[in-house]
Assembly symmetry: C2
Homo-oligomer: 371 residues x 2
């Protein structure tokens, strides 16, 4: 016979999920109401407004999706790309590779721009690809690569897309609320993010915003979106409209409570203050980890403050250290992914996790477990 589950409280300093604030956990436990209840419809409107605040956009088509960030990535490509469309995907880590896989599965014509793991997407390479492919429809890249801790220059890349007549798809799952992200000022066409990184809401849903140009493109498709569940023209009928909302699927009501509270906390803090806090905490982390002899992988000029790749010192069994951190200190940090597997730790300072006390714990616990 099974019994109720009582998770051991952890300090979450991996690549996500991050620590969830008690206010957000409390919101998740509020009584479930119907997905067509007028109170829930009002909540949906408020969530859309709060998302526009966090994304820095006036985009009408701004909404949460009822599935995690990977589904938002898929929704971006599924709605913009039709079979045979040419798509340029920039790859400098796991999530660029995943974008490429999405294009393949949609029978798009894939052009890749490859960059070394741990470095930025190179705008010169991108411009060369755009010049060589004047018929490309979409340029896709990762703003904040969760696998490498690298920030790419989204502003410049979006400008290139626009200059060469492409729609841009911007993955900012780990970026939103952690580093500068200016959807409107940068003319980003489709931008998506997750809940479980710098917003510090539980994982499970995702956030997406379409420029008017991108939304028009979805409406002008020749063929239906291959995914019924992720078809934005159907989702709009539920998330928009002044009158009755058309049922599409049953929204994850309690997850929306949590998202709303998390977005509200970003607004209360102020978006720029949130960016600044992530940078300030990053600086404290650098000082602390350097003091115990640890080195950072990514160049400081394009490092994500919220996700830090740290080299495993020689002779250290990295998996054993992570195991001890978890069992002795209830502290989770992340392993390396892909090309960095076994070579780095990923130490997250995202959202509510980006606090002095977490940095102190992480530093002293790492020191203890590496001895």
């Amino acid at each position: 016979m099974s019994s109720s589950f009582h998770p051991t409280p952890r300090t979450l300093m991996g690549p996500g999920p991050s620590d969830v604030h008690p206010r957000v956990l409390g919101a998740m436990a509020k009584a479930t109401i119907g997905h067509l209840d007028p109170e829930f419809i009002a909540l949906m409107e408020d969530i859309k407004d709060l998302l526009r605040y966090s994304f820095r956009t006036e985009n009408k088509l701004t909404l949460p999706l009822s599935a995690p960030g990977s589904a938002a990535m898929e929704a971006s490509f599924a709605n913009l790309v039709e079979a045979g469309d040419k798509v340029i995907v920039c790859i400098n880590g796991v999530f660029g590779m995943r974008m490429a896989e999405n294009v393949r599965r949609m029978n798009g014509e894939l052009i890749t721009v490859e960059n070394e793991w741990g470095t930025q997407v190179d705008p010169e390479k991108v411009e060369a690809a755009l010049k060589a492919n004047p018929d490309a429809k979409v340029l896709a890249f990762v703003h904040a690569e969760t696998s490498t801790g690298v920030r790419s220059d989204a502003k410049t890349l979006c400008a290139l897309a626009q200059e060469y007549g492409c729609l841009s798809i911007v993955d900012s799952v780990t970026g939103l609320a952690g580093i500068e992200l200016e959807v409107d000022a940068w003319n980003a066409d489709v931008t998506y993010s997750g809940t479980q990184k710098c917003l510090s809401a539980p994982p499970g849903i995702s956030l997406i915003t379409f420029s008017d140009k991108a939304a028009a493109q979805v409406k002008a498709r020749n063929t239906p979106v291959q995914s019924w569940f992720l078809d934005l023209s159907l989702l709009m009928a539920y998330w928009e409209g002044d009158g009755a909302r058309t049922y599409h699927h049953t929204a994850p009501v309690n997850a929306m409570y949590g998202l709303h509270e998390a977005l509200l906390m970003v607004q209360e803090e102020g978006l720029e203050n949130s960016w600044n806090r992530h940078r300030a905490m990053h600086e404290v982390l650098v000082e602390n980890l350097n003091s115990i002899g640890l080195e950072f992988v990514v160049d400081a000029s394009y490092r994500l403050p919220q996700l830090n790749l740290v080299k495993i010192p020689e002779g250290v069994d990295e998996a054993a250290v992570r195991k001890r951190l978890l069992s002795e200190f209830n502290l989770e940090i992340g392993a390396g992914l892909g090309a960095f597997a076994g070579k780095v730790w990923r130490i997250g300072l995202m959202g509510y996790s980006a606090r002095q006390e977490n940095i102190q714990l992480c530093t002293s616990a790492l020191k203890h477990c590496m001895r």
Copy 2:
């Protein structure tokens, strides 16, 4: 400036979500841990076992999906169907229509078996379609049609599929834990359900189980599944395996806490007791609603006890009644959908909503608001 959301507690007697038990709400609020935490991996194993108990199956490939029931429907077709495959879809309501739409978007060859709304899928018509299409690969139908309140004879339909060499896809979103469902005894190949109906967990995730035959079919595909997010061969790497789990997407950790507690409560009650409770409460509802002059739409022999279609009496403004029920009594019942829009109410008695006190409230409040 927005502020925290405080939903008015409601009594949920529509087509779902149903009332969520305080134990399940409490579970949702427990501290988020990592999706690769050993404690979470253990929880995943327990959830799979509890799902097997509720589905009455030994199917190895039994797991929750990180998206609502509509995504489970899409996952069923996306994994089994390749372009050009012939698929027979039985339609007797909204969700059969949605199945057909899924097949179209996968470029399957669609054969439909149409049945009048409010009646069962007719096994004779299905057998005729199977005879006429010996090359059909899949037979899909809805066990418990949420739009009409009809139970179809899943046992007979699964047997027909097997007799004619088809794989069966069974939609039991509203069926699981509310009426008899015997995945193994009936030889159902793919069966899926939702959390927000008779399990009374919050909406947002779904449940799916594949027979060995269906799982082998997924492995033997000639083309990749068109959805990366719903590709079961990738999901298996995270949900199965004795050693390390491979990251696919970040699981909705807190939603899994809620699901686990809800499944545990089904096990504590006993699955057959849960079926019996739904039937017994249905009988009380029939007696009560008949006593105030309301009539049921669906023939008693194939009516879903957990979802009751009631005719709108002549001269009654159905939307106004629902609005009053909600504003004066905090009671939600459902409107008609599709062919039944404006003609019926849908009164749910699902999971934790299937209680005497709810029936008494519903009866007296309806009587009051219809005056």
